[in-house]
């Protein structure tokens, strides 16, 4: 009974954390966006407008909730719940510190990915139930985008799994004791970051909403709290991506003075390091959102299928090949047991070399293609200019 109550408490805390975090996140997001756009942002309610999101939440509760005629009531009401639930569930096995984790599942990473894919279903439900053709079209575009970008996301996720030899989140973090995975697989980290950004549906990949051009996307028929929930889910998803990148590629809670065994000091320090790393990636994400222009849908799809996916497949091939070579040659270390900086260095250099070669190769191929296209265009223009007038 006591153990059940402890579990209940842990689950309650871990499950509420993302939703509670959403409140300050809204403020941070608006403030950062305002600063980038040379505005002040919210500054009326409370010091620096810090109470603004709470005022927003109260406003949302007091707003009339309009359910348009012809909606499918059950699906319509279920969709925002599923959308938020998918994000909350992801937090079940995200570590906070060496000993602080909801549940350290053996299949941690796979669990996170599969729970995240429930969000796609929620969007489909939201778009369909509204009985509005724009919402439905919007949902189709979003779903096409989300499923497309899930491919490079999962393929690059495979690299940390490959290096750590485990899917458990704590195992992956522990394996980065001496060397962060970003040094072994910078390409995978970059692809993961880009496709995670696309998974949240934010700029430059926000053509599903395109706030400045369209009225809204799949959530057009939602109002009041239900709309707010979709929004909160998106905010938390961005933060979740930051945490995931911090864990998978830059060592999660590792830092100076943290030991894997734990202890109070390690846990506190680990949490602080994790917050710092997460904040950095979260900030980069906001920065991108507020500075990059929106892409067109054909550019979006081409970028994914003709750039990210081939590169992530090539990256997987190169990384696994080099890893196997270093294992056969005998200078690979088992990162789960012996992972000091010096021991991991030769392997890291080899993998880093492979990644640099991959980047150079990609640049060469795309540079060649672009040059060839330009030469062709110039030749065409030449031909038109010099064509006989009759």
């Amino acid at each position: 009974m006591a153990s059940f109550l402890t579990t209940l408490l842990v689950v309650a805390i871990v499950a509420t954390t993302p939703l509670v975090l959403a409140i300050p996140l809204i403020w941070i997001e608006r403030k950062v966006a305002a600063r980038i756009q040379d505005r002040l942002g919210p500054n009326r309610v409370g010091p620096w407008g810090i109470i603004q999101p709470i005022a927003d939440a109260i406003k949302l509760i007091g707003k009339e909730d309009i359910t348009p005629a012809g909606t499918d009531k059950v699906v319509y009401n279920l969709a925002p719940i599923v959308a938020v639930a998918s994000v909350v569930l992801m937090w079940a096995c995200i570590p906070f510190a060496p000993n602080l984790i909801g549940v350290d599942l053996e299949i941690g990473v796979l669990y996170i990915v599969s729970v995240a894919s429930l969000g796609t279903m929620a969007i489909m439900m939201a778009g369909w139930s509204g009985n509005n053709k724009y919402a439905l079209l919007g949902a189709f575009r979003v779903v096409a985008q989300l499923v497309s970008y899930e491919v490079p996301l999962v393929l690059s996720l495979l690299i940390p799994v490959l290096l750590a030899g485990s899917m458990g989140m704590q195992d992956i973090v522990t394996a980065q004791q001496g060397m962060w995975f970003i040094f072994m697989a910078p390409v995978a980290a970059l692809i993961f970051f880009i496709s995670a950004q696309a998974e949240t549906g934010r700029a430059p990949f926000d053509l599903l909403e395109a706030e400045s051009e369209l009225v809204a996307g799949f959530n057009i028929e939602y109002s009041g709290m239900k709309f707010g929930l979709f929004f909160a889910g998106e905010f938390v998803h961005v933060l979740t991506n930051g945490v995931l990148i911090a864990h998978l590629f830059v060592g999660g809670w590792w830092g100076l003075g943290v030991s894997a065994e734990g202890g109070i000091l390690s846990n506190v320090l680990g949490l602080i390091y994790l917050v710092i790393k997460t904040t950095i990636f979260y900030f980069i994400s906001l920065w991108l959102r507020n500075t990059l222009p929106r892409v067109r849908i054909d550019q979006l799809m081409n970028f994914n299928w003709k750039f990210l996916v081939p590169i992530s497949v090539a990256n997987l091939v190169i990384t696994s090949l080099l890893l196997k070579i270093s294992q056969v040659a005998g200078f690979a270390v088992d990162l789960t047991t012996n992972a000091s900086f010096t021991a991991a260095l030769p392997m890291t250099l080899l993998l880093l070399g492979g990644n640099i070669a991959l980047i150079l190769g990609v640049i060469a191929i795309y540079g060649f293609n672009i040059r060839r296209d330009r030469v062709q265009e110039e030749a065409q223009a030449e031909a038109i200019a010099h064509a006989p007038s009759h």
């Binding site: 579990t7 209940l8 842990v10 689950v11 499950a15 509420t16 949302l60 509760i61 007091g62 707003k63 009339e64 909730d65 309009i66 359910t67 348009p68 005629a69 009401n77 925002p80 719940i81 959308a83 938020v84 639930a85 909350v88 909801g102 549940v103 599942l105 796979l110 009985n131 509005n132 053709k133 724009y134 439905l136 779903v143 096409a144 499923v147 497309s148 491919v151 999962v154 393929l155 495979l158 799994v161 490959l162 030899g165 485990s166 057009i220 028929e221 709290m225 707010g228 054909d298 799809m301 081409n302 996916v309 081939p310 497949v313 997987l316 091939v317 696994s320 090949l321 196997k324 294992q327």
Partner: protein, 120 residues
């Protein structure tokens, strides 16, 4: 029970994950005003209200993207265990994984060459 220790909390998590977003909706339903009228309940459209069910023809392109995604998703079933067991694999087993990836890349190349990945 091993499996219950690990997944029991996840089950609790699911309950929380549903209750936490449902609660604000319920609270809003209690406090929010409710004064519906015909105009307010109209679907959000440009101009004239749609008659009957929503009726749009969709591009088959969405479906093709979904197929390619499905294939890569199913590929994960095999690549994840392969990646986990990587340290213990012989060179032969490693090559088997390579062949697997190669065969799937084939499908991608086919789709690319047939312009199935273009957005029309």
């Amino acid at each position: 029970m091993n499996i219950l220790n690990q997944w029991g909390p996840i089950g609790l998590f699911m309950v929380f994950a549903i209750v936490l977003p449902a609660a604000p909706i319920l609270v809003a339903a209690i406090f929010a005003p409710r004064k519906p009228n015909d105009i307010k309940l109209q679907t959000y459209e440009c101009g004239v209200e749609t008659v009957g069910d929503t009726w749009v023809q969709f591009k088959v392109q969405y479906y093709i993207y979904a197929i390619v995604f499905l294939v890569f998703d199913v590929e994960m079933i095999f690549l994840l265990p392969w990646a986990i067991a990587f340290n213990e694999l012989s060179f032969f087993a490693f090559g088997a994984g390579f062949l697997f990836i190669f065969l799937l890349t084939d499908a991608l190349v086919y789709a690319w060459r047939k312009q199935a990945l273009e957005w029309h």
